[in-house]
């Protein structure tokens, strides 16, 4: 019996519907992505060098990983200055993305687009003033200005091309970037103080989310040292490490009849031999499909919390200090709770700001060349990148003219699709056990999905 449908959900990049079925005292929640992305249809037949501009519609970081895949496809190594510009753009994207998520969370109790006097703040942190929200957006705008300087545009950047970047910076950009880096770092520190005082600290954690955890699951990240992909098990221990070109041998994509977003699973050798191993999958033709509800121990997730779940110390002092505070408050990694996920956003916000101040100096953004010109068209390219939302991966195959014939993209929505299903189910269970009204259930789902 269908009880409730929430459509659409707040803050989700994809159009999403949650349907709750009630049977025999049990609520089963279904998280559905209701529109397809059609990236293969859009990209096949295009010249491969156009993909960074096209695929940025998935998220700004897809622009960067696409350019990296082109470097690989054309067999070129970008000059150091271009690599620094790309990294600087990525850090501006991380800062902007995490800050926006925190803004969404902090404004979740009010209508941020109503007049100050009419907003009210019945449940939110008492110290949260509208001016602080405006200040968040001001620093969001600053990080976006850095992204515009380095990438040309915020949401669909332009500058990353095969072999480097498309243009040099101008003289006045250096000063402005360094100024933005400092402003962002100061604000990230202030944000940390605010969140520790008002949200994370001394039992004043997110109301009703203190014990909100999903079942432990594996996580996938990009290794810091040699760019390999690392799979950590649910205990945070490394279970596999492989080069990114092995991605779709190690990771399988599975369709579901009820969602346009596929599910990503860790491939086991035996998976290819089974048609139904009791995990809810069944074979149609030569592809597996998931039935609702899903249950499979081989799911994994990506994102800020997944990156921290490896338990490795961070290289940047303020971010590491914040990570240590998280460990002191919540215990050692791995974590699978909503509070830890919001805290991970703060850790990475600080890290991004520290990286911005390190990178936004003239010496790092100056050089004799902006790109290495390819001498031939390659036929296969791939790359992986830790985007603000989590690890993403592109693989292209082209014909002799460089026209795209084959494209496979692992986006964070696919990688985290199972996680989103589990979070939604958990939020509904908690909400219904507390006999909350449906409106509160929806709110709980939205807040639990937001930091992942």
């Amino acid at each position: 019996m269908k009880n409730a449908t929430f459509e659409p959900l707040r803050w989700q990049e994809d159009p999403v519907r949650v349907t709750i079925f009630h049977e025999a005292e049990h609520h089963e929640a279904c998280f559905q992505v209701t529109a397809p992305k059609d990236m293969a249809l859009i990209c096949k037949g295009r010249p491969v060098e156009e993909l960074p501009r096209i695929l940025s519609m998935l998220s700004p970081a897809h622009h960067l990983v696409s350019a990296m895949a082109l470097d690989n496809l054309f067999g070129v190594e970008p000059p150091p200055m271009a690599l620094n510009m790309r990294e600087g753009l990525l850090q501006a994207q991380v800062f902007s993305h995490h800050l926006r998520k925190l803004y969404f969370y902090l404004s979740s109790w009010i209508n941020p687009f109503s007049e100050y006097g009419r907003r009210g703040n019945p449940k939110g942190p008492s110290m949260l003033s509208p001016h602080f929200l405006d200040e968040i957006m001001h620093h969001e705008a600053l990080s976006q200005e850095a992204a515009i300087i380095l990438g040309g545009r915020v949401h669909h950047p332009l500058s990353a091309v095969a072999g480097g970047v498309s243009r040099f910076l101008k003289e006045d950009h250096y000063f402005r970037l360094s100024e933005i880096g400092e402003f962002c770092l100061k604000f990230a520190m202030r944000m940390g103080e605010f969140l520790r005082d008002e949200i994370f600290g001394d039992g004043k954690t997110l109301d009703g989310f203190e014990t909100f955890c999903i079942e432990p699951m594996a996580s996938m990240t990009l290794g810091e040292k040699n760019g390999s992909v690392v799979l950590n098990d649910h205990l945070g221990k490394e279970m596999d490490r492989f080069t990114s070109d092995m991605m779709f041998k190690k990771i399988g994509l599975y369709n579901a009849s009820w969602s346009h977003e596929p599910f990503a699973c860790i491939n086991r050798k035996s998976d290819t031999e089974k048609s139904d191993n009791g995990t809810g999958k069944r074979e149609r033709g030569n592809r597996f499909h998931f039935e609702f509800p899903i249950s499979n121990p081989e799911f994994f997730f990506v994102g800020p919390l997944a990156r921290l779940n490896g338990g490795e110390a961070l290289l940047y002092p303020m971010a590491e200090e914040e990570r240590q505070r998280l460990i002191t408050a919540l215990g050692p990694f791995p974590h699978f709770g909503v509070v830890a996920a919001y805290w991970a956003l703060l850790v990475e916000l600080l890290q991004a700001a520290e990286k911005m101040t390190e990178l936004y100096v003239q010496e790092k953004l100056t050089g004799p060349a902006i790109r290495t010109i390819p001498s031939k068209i390659g036929q296969m390219g791939h790359a992986a990148l830790e985007s603000p939302q989590g690890l993403i991966y592109h693989h292209y195959g082209t014909d002799e003219k460089g026209i795209v014939e084959e494209i496979e993209v692992l986006g964070t929505e696919t990688a985290n699709n199972a996680l989103h299903c589990f979070l939604t189910q958990k939020a509904v269970e908690i909400s219904q056990s507390r006999e909350e009204p449906w409106k509160e259930t929806q709110n709980r789902i939205e807040i639990s999905l937001l930091p992942f």
């Binding site: 397809p36 010249p47 460089g402």
Partner: protein, 338 residues
């Protein structure tokens, strides 16, 4: 209602199939949008406020709806129709809503449709099972722009729209002359009809496009010397990042056929224009115009040389109609609902 005696305008902001860049572009003018609260109430904004469709049903009507994203599913179509019925003014926001956008490129695929229907047919044995299970909306056979589904009053093109035009649209359609001067961008850089609408409070003519009045070339900062196209290059090849016109260097840049307003943003980044503002009014078909413009500048007589040159060009349809295939390609488009 705000402190003035005029009732606040009721707004809706919605994205069908597309990314969230247009909605995020509205968020990015946060300070100004906050100030707008004195003149407007945002009634329906699922992405930021979590509004549900049932919230809309209790409303008598809306004043302005900013609709972004392309029409890809039956749900998208139903949303467009519902919001059109409720709204006095319907605005196509961004290239996807205005022209079909990048999702529209799916119409080029050999399957002659962007995908399979996702639903089992009623006579399918699985149909009964699906009834008790989660379902998906059926896919449309083709991706469409908003104007091919419902009547659109105004267009704010761009991928995503630049903030000055976005804000100009909000001021002229929502504030109708009541916005304080401190909120205004420089109206001198806006087309005359739009600048007048902002200052006078009279709505711009229906069908107005919140964009420049000339082609991108007119505002591009790159130097045009020979106005000839002597060779053909692809963007991965070597060309001058600064200075000279990209088209003259042999890159397929659509600045000559594309409505301006962006200030030559892509060309300033040494990237060729791909037409996200749509075609200029005087042009019937942007792809045909580009082919004509390029062909007329080559000075070749030898058939083999011409063949060799033509053989170099790749994916002209996907390039010239990158954002506009469903609505501006004569061979593919269907009529608008005007």
């Amino acid at each position: 209602m705000g402190t003035n005696t005029v009732p606040n305008k009721k707004l809706a902001i919605f994205t069908a199939t597309g990314c969230r860049a247009c909605e995020n572009a509205i968020l990015d003018i946060h300070y100004q949008v906050n100030s707008l609260a004195r003149y407007a109430d945002i009634i329906f904004w699922p992405y930021v406020l979590g509004s549900q469709w049932k919230d809309l049903e209790v409303q008598d009507g809306l004043d302005v709806c900013f609709f972004s994203g392309a029409i890809r599913t039956v749900s998208d179509r139903e949303a467009a129709v519902k919001l059109r019925e409720k709204s006095r003014i319907m605005v196509a926001l961004g290239a996807c809503a205005a022209f079909g956008g990048l999702p529209g490129l799916g119409n080029l695929s050999r399957s002659r449709g962007p995908g399979k229907p996702s639903q089992p047919k009623p006579d399918d044995p699985e149909h009964a099972l699906e009834e008790a299970n989660p379902r998906l909306s059926t896919l449309e056979p083709r991706v469409s722009g908003l104007s091919q589904i419902v009547k659109v009053d105004y267009f704010v093109p761009g991928c995503p729209p630049p903030q000055n035009f976005l804000w100009a649209a909000i001021q002229s359609l929502v504030c109708e002359g009541r916005a304080p001067a401190r909120l205004s961008f420089s109206t001198a850089r806006l087309p005359e009809a739009i600048a007048q609408a902002i200052t006078s409070g009279i709505l711009p003519p229906k069908g107005s496009v919140f964009a420049g009045e000339k082609a991108v070339c007119a505002t591009c900062s790159r130097v045009k010397e020979e106005k000839r196209f002597e060779t053909y290059k692809r963007p991965y090849q070597k060309y001058e990042a600064l200075g000279r016109c990209l088209l003259e260097q042999g890159l397929l840049c659509q600045g000559i056929t594309t409505m301006g307003g962006c200030g030559g943003l892509c060309t300033a980044m040494a990237q060729p224009c791909r037409g996200c503002f749509g075609k200029v009014d005087a042009i019937f078909d942007p792809g045909a115009k580009m082919v004509s413009a390029i062909a007329s500048t080559f000075d070749l007589d030898d058939a083999r040389e011409i063949d060799a040159l033509v053989d170099n060009f790749v994916d002209l349809a996907g390039t010239f109609y990158r954002y506009t295939l469903p609505t501006q390609c004569t061979l593919f488009s269907t009529p608008s609902k005007d």
